[in-house]
């Protein structure tokens, strides 16, 4: 930590920092333990059924965060820039989900043309929604790189960051103008109707595990694992890692750097699109601002897990989701303050592990 600071600051600040960190950590830790004992042991505020519900909700939202966080991490790993328009890429995926199901709802099939296509063939409908949603988002990510980031490849590191923020605002406003500022509700097929799910009985109270939630969780796990294999085992993955390590040498070795970067944006866009479709299916409501909050949260998750680190982003996403959902209840704090807990945790983690939970995967070039 100290090595990265300019020498003069490091010398002056070293003593303060040496004591400040443990003290800060101890204060927060004591507070957390005190509140935990209060809610869990003394007051016994909630029964096991409530805890189960909270953890389920956290895992579902966490898996969506993880999918989006992967996009941040992939792009950061290869270009060392934060693609702040990533949440908007996800928002376009969610809009595609809305439009697909709206269209399929209005295609009538069956003997008397009364059955909606999305209810008659739900599996096909969902596959169509995912393919289209992922393609739209992948294409957006791809074009975004071409228009907003590639011309600035040689510019100082701050410049593409500003360009990314601009792209984010542009996409939000374009969506508002094109699709109207109203909230849209995704018309789910009946088998994935909101609120339906497996019911298990805990303490005589039925806990629902929503189908959309399980579906979201499993699908994001599958996508994340397959991405990990692509990066680690395939030729393209090797090219990607090589470009991340050193662009010049990689191009000397015959790797098409531009193509690799484009493909990285395609993949991160597709994952964001999948997250958007899941968001539409599980949370139903889509509007132009949909991508902003999940985008910020996923960025947090990526930093929490160690940016540039794929398993770190997955872990960070799930961790953040569960903390957000369980944290206020466990600490006996108002639920409105869930973001405070999440970001306080981010500060604590970064204070003790500045490179995130699993550590930042640093390329030589950056150090």
């Amino acid at each position: 930590m100290n090595e990265t600071l300019p020498i003069s600051i490091a010398r002056k600040g070293a003593n303060v920092l040496k004591y400040l960190r443990p003290v800060l950590g101890a204060v927060i830790l004591i507070f957390i333990i005190y509140r935990l004992i209060q809610t869990l042991l003394i007051q016994e505020t909630y029964g096991p059924e409530t805890w189960t519900r909270l953890v389920i909700a956290g895992m579902i939202i966490g898996s969506v965060y993880a999918l989006i966080a992967i996009g941040y991490t992939l792009v950061y790993g290869i270009l060392f820039m934060i693609n702040f328009a990533h949440g908007e890429v996800m928002m376009l995926g969610a809009y595609t989900c809305f439009f697909v199901f709206e269209a399929l709802k209005n295609i009538k099939v069956g003997a008397d043309h009364s059955l909606a296509f999305s209810n008659a063939y739900p599996v096909i409908s969902i596959i169509i929604a995912f393919i289209l949603g992922m393609s739209v988002s992948a294409l957006t990510g791809f074009l975004l790189e071409k228009v907003a980031y590639r011309p600035l490849r040689q510019a100082p590191r701050l410049v593409p960051l500003i360009s990314a923020i601009g792209a984010s605002i542009f996409l939000q406003n374009a969506a508002q103008l094109l699709f109207s500022p109203q909230l849209r509700d995704v018309a789910n097929p009946q088998i994935l109707a909101r609120g339906s799910g497996w019911k298990i009985l805990i303490n005589n109270s039925s806990v629902t595990i929503p189908y959309t939630g399980v579906f979201t969780f499993l699908l994001s796990l599958i996508l994340l694992v397959s991405l990990y294999f692509i990066v680690q085992k395939t030729k393209f993955g090797r090219a990607m890692r090589a470009v991340a390590l050193d662009k010049k040498t990689a191009s000397l070795m015959g790797i098409d750097v531009d193509k690799t970067i484009s493909l990285t944006f395609l993949i991160s866009g597709a994952l964001a699109g999948a997250a958007g479709v899941m968001w539409g299916l599980h949370n139903s409501m889509v509007y132009y601002f949909t991508g902003f909050i999940p985008g910020i949260k996923a960025f947090t998750a990526a930093v929490l897990g160690g940016i540039g680190n794929l398993p770190g982003a997955m872990l960070g996403g799930l961790f953040l989701g569960i903390i957000e959902s369980v944290g206020p209840a466990a600490l006996g704090i108002d639920f409105q303050l869930k973001d405070v807990i999440a970001f306080l945790l981010l500060i604590v983690v970064l204070t003790f592990r500045p490179s995130g939970l699993l550590g930042e995967v640093l390329a030589e070039e950056k150090i």
Binding site: T45, Y46, G47, E49, T50, R53, L54, I56, A57, G58, I61, L143, K146, V147, N173, A174, Q176, L177, L178, S180, P181, Q182, L183, D185, R194, G195, G197, S205, S206, V207, T208, P210, W279, N283, S284, M285, Y287, F289, I293, E324, S325, V326, P328, A329, D334, F335, Q336, K338, D339
Partner: protein, 427 residues
């Protein structure tokens, strides 16, 4: 490579163009798309040519006169949520107001126009819109704002500028109790909305364990507190009070915590966007048997379409639906023809929107003077008094007489519930 770059640039331009084309279409429903350009005469210009034909009242009026040259348009403002999850309220009420402008006709050859600005329903937006309105010399009155949070931020600004307000729907009690000279409203205050809701829950629905949720807004929190206080006073138990974060789509954690207290009913102070999410997620968090009881902010067609079957049996308190009259029939027909929807389906305040705007125009007509030079003079201070002294004004939803603090409506709320996918009067 070059071709690819040109293609990208063309795509970009195409996107820009479609975005530009869509802009007027999006703005159309609020009726501002076709507003004629107003050459608002600013006060400096007014004072210079005032010597020619300005009536005497302008020199004695506390806020002076708004001056309109022949051909100018008298503007009435409305700050309303036109974007986001609660936009149906803004659209509905401003559409009601648009019809009022059409019905009110001209005054000595001067036309009226309703200018609708998006305040997002929140305090920041309310203040921004109020500043914009206050800097427009042709704007003499504001029919709004629609939401209490935006309204309370806007009042001090209008107070300084001497612009009179008549809100169709801002029901926060403190809006009138803090001694504002310019603010008036034709909706009940939440001091009248909350207690009857608590009594209904306790007496009619036999609820003894109530959970109270609110969205943290001035309106939602204030209303929730009123209900909780009255419910406790009646002998019921408020088992949990929780605030939610506005604008989210996942409230399962907070609802799980609510479910652990086994309430028989959930009262929610807030708006449709969050109310609909709560109703949906109550079914998966162990609150499937609890009654959802909302307010005048959770009513409307959007609530029905977003909750579907989950919304069955939900309650809300709304302003009374006006009794049938020839005026109501004429308005309903005009609204249906122009906007393709039955009035009262998007929000309960369609008729209030009409009444607020027509009430303001009535007041403007009563104080406006045409000077010797043919200009129209609207004394702002006299207009403020005229609205506060509105007596027996016949609107569609009732007869309004404003009291000393600006409460122009004393009707209590009525109760509605969702039955077979529609809002019907509750038994």
């Amino acid at each position: 490579m070059k071709a690819a770059r040109i293609f990208v640039v063309l795509m970009f331009m195409f996107m820009m163009m479609t975005a530009c084309n869509a802009a007027p279409a999006a703005a159309e429903p609020n009726g501002t798309g076709s507003v004629p350009e107003v050459s608002g005469s600013d006060s400096a210009a007014a004072s210079s040519d005032a010597a020619a034909g300005s009536p005497e009242i302008c020199s004695t009026d506390a806020f002076g006169c708004a001056v309109f040259k022949p051909g100018d348009v008298v503007k009435i403002g409305m700050g309303a949520p036109m974007t986001g999850g609660d936009a149906s309220y803004g659209f509905d009420i401003s559409q009601g107001g648009t019809i009022a402008v059409q019905d009110s006709g001209e005054f000595e050859g001067f036309k009226f126009v309703l200018v609708v600005e998006d305040d997002g329903g929140n305090a920041e937006g309310g203040a921004a819109v109020a500043n914009k309105f206050a800097s427009d010399p042709a704007l003499v009155a504001v029919a709004g704002h629609i939401y209490s949070g935006a309204t309370s931020a806007a009042i001090p600004i209008y107070e300084k500028a001497g612009i009179v307000m008549l809100s169709p729907s801002a029901s926060l009690p403190s809006l009138t109790t803090l001694g504002s000279a310019v603010f008036n409203r034709i909706v009940f205050t939440d001091a009248r909305q909350g207690p009857p809701a608590a009594e209904y829950l306790f007496n009619k629905l036999n609820v003894r364990r109530l959970a109270v949720l609110h969205d943290g807004s001035d309106y939602g929190k204030g209303l929730a507190e009123t209900v909780a206080a009255k419910f406790t006073e009646l002998g019921g138990e408020v088992v949990i009070t929780e605030a939610i974060t506005k604008g989210e789509t996942d409230y399962t954690p907070v609802l799980s915590a609510v479910a652990s207290k086994n309430p028989e009913a959930v009262y929610f102070g807030g708006y449709t966007a969050e109310g609909a999410v709560i109703v949906n997620q109550m079914k998966q968090t162990g609150l499937e048997n609890a009654i959802f009881f909302g307010d005048d902010g959770t009513y409307g067609a959007d609530f029905l379409s977003r909750t579907g079957a989950n919304g069955e049996g939900a309650f809300a308190t709304i302003a009374p639906i006006p009794a049938d009259s020839p005026e109501k029939a004429a308005f309903d027909a005009a609204y249906l023809e122009q906007f393709g929807k039955e009035p009262g389906t998007l929000s309960p305040y369609t008729w209030n929107g009409y009444d607020a705007v027509s009430g303001l125009i009535f007041a403007i007509k009563s104080v406006a003077v045409v000077g010797k030079d043919g200009n129209l003079y609207v004394p702002r201070g006299a207009l403020i008094n005229a609205v506060r002294n509105l007596t027996d004004f016949h609107g569609i939803s009732g007869t309004y007489t404003c009291d000393a603090v600006g409460e122009c409506n004393t009707l209590p709320p009525t109760f509605v519930m969702v039955k077979d996918g529609a809002w019907v009067p509750a038994p």
